[in-house]
Symmetry: C2
Subunit: 575 residues, 2 copies
Amino acid sequence: MVMKVSKLVGEHFKEAPADCTIESHSIMVRGGYIKGVGAGIYSLYPPTKRITRKIENILREEMDNIGGQEVLFPVVMPASLWKESGRYDSIGSELLRFTDRTGTDMVLGMTHEEASVQMCRVAAQTYTKYPYMIYQIQTKFRDEPRARGGLIRVREFTMKDAYSFHTSWEDLQEYYQVCYDAYMRIFRRCGLKDFIAVKSDSGMMGGSVSHEFMSLTDIGEDTLVICPECGYSSNMEAADCKVEPDNAFEEAPLELVETPDMKTIADVTKFLGRTPKSTCKAVVYQENATDKYIIAYLRGDLEVNETKLRNYLKTEIHPAAVITAESGIVEGFIGPVGGADCRVVFDKSLVPEKNLICGANKVNYHYTGFNLTRDVPDAEIADFAKSYEGAECPVCGKHSIVIKKGIEIGNIFQLGTKYTKSMGMEYIDKDGTTKNPIMGCYGIGVGRLAASVCQESHDDYGPIWPMSIAPWQVEVCNLRADDETVSSVADKLAKDLDAKGVEVLYDDRDVRPGVMFADADLYGIPVRAVVSPKTCERSAVEVSYRDKSARFDVSIDEAADKIKSIVEEMLAQYK
Amino acid sequence: MVMKVSKLVGEHFKEAPADCTIESHSIMVRGGYIKGVGAGIYSLYPPTKRITRKIENILREEMDNIGGQEVLFPVVMPASLWKESGRYDSIGSELLRFTDRTGTDMVLGMTHEEASVQMCRVAAQTYTKYPYMIYQIQTKFRDEPRARGGLIRVREFTMKDAYSFHTSWEDLQEYYQVCYDAYMRIFRRCGLKDFIAVKSDSGMMGGSVSHEFMSLTDIGEDTLVICPECGYSSNMEAADCKVEPDNAFEEAPLELVETPDMKTIADVTKFLGRTPKSTCKAVVYQENATDKYIIAYLRGDLEVNETKLRNYLKTEIHPAAVITAESGIVEGFIGPVGGADCRVVFDKSLVPEKNLICGANKVNYHYTGFNLTRDVPDAEIADFAKSYEGAECPVCGKHSIVIKKGIEIGNIFQLGTKYTKSMGMEYIDKDGTTKNPIMGCYGIGVGRLAASVCQESHDDYGPIWPMSIAPWQVEVCNLRADDETVSSVADKLAKDLDAKGVEVLYDDRDVRPGVMFADADLYGIPVRAVVSPKTCERSAVEVSYRDKSARFDVSIDEAADKIKSIVEEMLAQYK
């Protein structure tokens, strides 16, 4: 069916609302792609539905290709399932909980590890069934407090999530690599260009090894640590940080120095003629559950990697909101010698340094000469410094680390037996023993992927959709709907293309060329065919590409065939 | 990809659980099609997901074919949208309500009229955009108190719902017929045989004209009124009932007669030598909101159609649970002359009758000689009798009515302006005036349709899937996985069929033929190809059809081609 613009449901706006701070969000609102229904909740207009369906088909092909079996889990689940795994209690309010009419506790699925184990618990009781992978494409809900950026960070979203089950870690690792490769193909086939996989923190999913796939973009919320020399890459949250020792000073005794009103590292180092590298910085946190203070010390030029600190402490923390007088913590002058009575941890960056400046726990006083191993003999030492531009690569050892921003477009986890153990899923192995299967899980958000492609591939006028996921393949523009000759050529071209299996958006409206072209840019269809009195005069249709790489005439008679082969060539790039 | 039974996720059981009271439910549990997750909530195993995907593709084709534009609405919606339309208050607890982390009232979508208006409110402001239709295929949740029958009546389900918008009633009616025809094609293409459309009650949807599509089956929960003579058909809830007057008696005066301990119509009529037709029966209801009593009188041989009564009263009612002494209602002897002080309504079946028996509102006494128009001059007369087998057809007038049972597999509504008016959706018409668009809506439940096909098309051993929605097209049975010759023939056949684009389920397990065939019956694949030592001896593959209509040999060399053409022929029946 030829889709006529005159009937297409959607609204185009000249200006995007003020809350659209990133280009893809602005384009998708201005171009009639999405309609906000509530905070982080959108309806999808026809073009977006067509895009996401094409993405879903690519996902299906690639999942089926690696032996996946498509299933469907429910959106609404009894809380009992999440109590079995322990996540009902361990996950915060992003898991939406409610009771049904009978008073039963229910949740909205934000991920389906529990459901996948429940599905297979009885169905796979002998080793001969393994390995296998099941996947679904389904709506999910995550009660995200910071919904933003249109489809980039929403509360309700469509996700492809897959779960694999194995009888050995080796088998999981092998399949994990197969999925990794499939993910790289998926993103390439969807037309994404600049993306990488990075090592990631497993967070609430549990498990050990995990990777995130990142679309590299300045508007990304994730910070990535990349070594262009050897290919090492990691989410900042999970990145190792090899800090080069400064060793600028000889050992010296602790000495109390007056530092009047100097509460910042900048003030103190300037006053004492030192650099931040020669200080011991204090950062104060509070445990979420108890509000108890925790002080983290690290070298003054470094930042705390909160995820690593949290993982080390094995408790949820937040930067201290207020520091009470009773705590004994002297703000601006906090130091590790004779400080307040609370938990204290030191980053390993402090270990090799001598003669550092630190707070003296006394208003207007600092110490010089601080030496961690000497002055705090029983110090609790951990690794929680953030990596930084130019840092030493933890793999190849060069000082080559660069920091980039990215949007997470997919993730894969080696889960192990976290869920199969807690939920009592067992099978009988070859040797007759009973074991818990070893799991992997693999996710891609469909809408976010569409928005990420838009974010990467657009100009000032709208999106430049790759042929593989473009809502339509060709837009036919009838520049004079009131002219019989022009209209009959344009009508026929649209019809002929449709008959040849080409997806056509046909702008049949009686509007000025400027309006029609501006709208066409917002539709972002890769190939455009313009029919006007001028092109008809020269018995031609003017073909151009949305990425502005070409513009040429084809004869009216050959237009449908030529355009069809152009579409096929473009499509072939994404096979 | 050839799907091997050895890897297929799902569980087969010899016996269905005791709560499976209908065949399709029992088959779908025993055959590894569905897995209960909570009351009325299921996960779908791979075969069911494949079936429902094929149904969804048929739905898409037919919706696109009548100009539909696919969109996606959210599952979770802010309650404010439902407050706009007024349904937040008017719908009962089947609408699941909850609050999100910010305390905002939310609902789970059970239907999307509100969302469709919200989507189009700004997008369709001029008459040139009309008519148009949008549809989605999406998960819905209805907090159904009586979930039962597997996928027949669930709480969470996938639904195709469509919404059309028009500028005149004529245009709506025309498109309504187009949808009606598309629905008939859809059910036929999904392999359903015995189904009809019936006039229905519009219920909570609002609007005037509506139809339900019904799969005719004894296990149906809906009662249907059908005239085989003229084609009239209606859901009992909405069926007109033309009651033939009995007129068995001459007018007579009211007379009090003693009827000791005779509280039922059977007792009284036997005692007085009359039939139920010559009585005036009382049925007591209570208004849900106030518990106030309402007495409905009708001729003794008829039943109350509660939906019609409810629509007439314009209030929710339920059969009286208890009748209190203070009410003045004398149970067993209730009558319209000098009765209790409550609302009283009379069915029109009573109007022509004379000399009826009715209660006398006094223990152990009835009246004879009751005559509604004479004895209750200001009676409130309405039409709320149930139709019955052999009743007069309200269209052709023959006494031809038959009563059947059906499962509702789809519905279509002429909604009018109920939603566009309440939600302020307007467009500028040709003449410059502002109007509310006129809506239609059209729904089909995907899982229920799959289950209904299974219910209609099965034998004692399992489902007989129609080729159009069968999870796989061909099952290859390797009867001797331990035999090299047999396995090489079977492996090759499965591979060749797959290469030719035929969907293959391959039973590669080393199990006894009895087990393999029992499982094959449960998979219900339309075409089966058996490879055994015996078939190999005669250089053949044994092909048989799941519906037992044929069994024949094809030579090994030609097997793949022959089977492919059989599949294509079967598919062609559903085009």
